[in-house]
Symmetry: C2
Subunit: 316 residues, 2 copies
């Protein structure tokens, strides 16, 4: 379904700004509290907290993060889930979000309703309040929604990207390479998993995989080390296998480079046995946690250096 | 200066995403702290606070909030100042911001540099840290920057829009109607003024004027009341006078309807003498604070009912 309509009566301009905001508040329902804790004042008020606070921002833009084949409800959910995945990657808990829309005058109200219902549904499922936002007119054929998500730490610490050392093991949740088969909007943010991982002292660094781990791993790699991965250990999704049949590149290469997996890349300290750790993990979660390599000074036999691969590059 | 270039070598695509992020971090300088308190991790971390937290979001979009006549540094400053004005309107103090960019592949790196230098300069002046963001490719000829600003209350309370009653007096800071003459990006957010006003018990409601007070006043007007204003009391800017000469509508009408004033609209309780109150104000601020009307049940003689006027309507 396309976000745009050629019938003026069905477009956002037929309603105007104030009526549209009233509709949005109705669509959001109890996912949006009353002002000043929600929409309707100059700022939204969030009560004080004793925990570390987390902030992240990610948009969905038509033609970039979704196309006309993605249902509007899934687009609304994806907008929030992209940000939830960032909160998960620090081991945090989501709290409140604001949404800034830039939309074409010919944006369909029906499509926008689906978008907000999907957003509200996802927000309720994860206990997130939609507390504010902004609507601005954009050029014809443009739809962009920019969400900023506010969260907090679930325990004593947040897990950053910078704790890895040479010798530490690299693990990944779930299966990789499914984004082309719809995983890019059907994924589940790993919030419970991230919070559990943040409580394990063995975990020294963490991030979510958004541009393909071949690219993202660079952010975790300690100075002077290489990320050395054993290809047969990569948890490849069935969709990556299909992509491989078409591209004639190995399935594990798709799994490492296709992007939008929204799985967690986890680093545990060298002295912890990765297989002991995954056994501990499997008492809590059905999702797999797979050891796939280590940070080393030199490449291990049969392993691949991730620097030789490319993830998704924006602005290219 | 236009945000776009026809020379590929001068465009953001010539750099690519990672190099561009490195440039942005350099342009922001000490306005952006190190991760995890700034750019570079999945989320930015903000230390816990005992105060009420405030969140607001406002963008700048080319063709909507600025055009090629506005210098890039002023565009960057305006982006932050629009949001600062919302924090001021609650009596708060700004803390940290994230910026999500949607930009055309032909966006000029030189223009973007000016934009970030202006943003960083404004952030430093107001003690705001730029802690994170996102860059996504948008359609050709599009530039939008979406900022979410995080703040906190300066004292015991935040001032909302909903405290006014019949009989209360309406006041406004500064002069109105100058947006067409460049005030829309040259304004100063009323942060010190807002914080002082929030400490005065007489102040029962407050908001900032972004779409013209003729429209914005509706949000402050108590049920069953009208905002009754005495036109000669409106603090009209010189620019509104010029606009009046061209449009042949009264200058005070421009002052009430032109939008983007970013002044504070303040409601004080009925039993406080507005002129006593402004005397108290003038011991602290050079900016004027002008009583302009009251919330009444019936229109006072010689007064104008603001419902008869229109402010700036988006999506029309």
């Amino acid at each position: 379904m396309t976000p745009f309509t050629s019938t003026r009566a069905k477009s956002v301009t037929a309603h105007g700004e104030l009526a549209l905001i009233a509709l949005i508040r109705r669509w959001l329902g109890n996912a949006s509290p009353r002002s000043p804790f929600g929409i309707g004042d100059d700022c939204a008020v969030i009560p004080p907290t004793k925990n570390q606070q987390l902030v992240t921002t990610d948009p969905v833009i038509h033609g970039q993060h979704f196309d006309d084949t993605v249902p509007p409800r899934a687009v609304g959910a994806k907008l929030l889930k992209r940000n939830l995945s960032d909160i998960a990657a620090m081991g945090g808990r989501p709290v409140a979000a604001v949404v800034s829309l830039a939309l074409a005058p010919n944006t369909s109200v029906m499509w926008l309703r689906g978008f907000y219902l999907g957003l509200a549904n996802c927000a309720r499922r994860h206990g997130v309040k939609i507390v504010g936002g902004d609507i601005t007119q954009g050029p014809r054929g443009f739809f962009g929604a920019f969400l900023t998500l506010h969260g907090e730490s679930t325990g004593q610490r947040v897990v950053t990207r910078t704790g890895a050392r040479v010798g530490d093991a690299i693990l990944v949740t779930g299966r990789l390479g499914g984004s082309r088969a719809g995983h890019h909007y059907k994924f589940t943010p790993r919030l419970a998993e991230g919070a559990w991982l943040a409580r394990q002292k063995d975990v020294v660094a963490m991030m979510d995989v958004s541009d393909g781990i071949a690219k993202d791993i660079r952010a975790l790699t300690p100075q002077g080390a290489i990320a050395s991965v054993w290809p047969p250990s990569i948890p490849v999704s069935a969709a990556a296998g299909t992509a491989s049949g078409q591209s004639r590149r190995p399935a594990w290469m798709h799994a490492l480079t296709d992007g939008e997996d929204y799985e967690l890349l986890v680093v545990i300290r060298a002295r912890t046995d990765p297989f002991e750790f995954t056994k501990r993990w499997s008492r809590h979660f059905a999702t797999s946690l797979q050891p796939i390599g280590r940070f080393t000074r030199r490449l291990s036999p049969g392993h691949v250096d991730w620097r030789s691969l490319q993830g998704y590059e924006h602005l290219r």
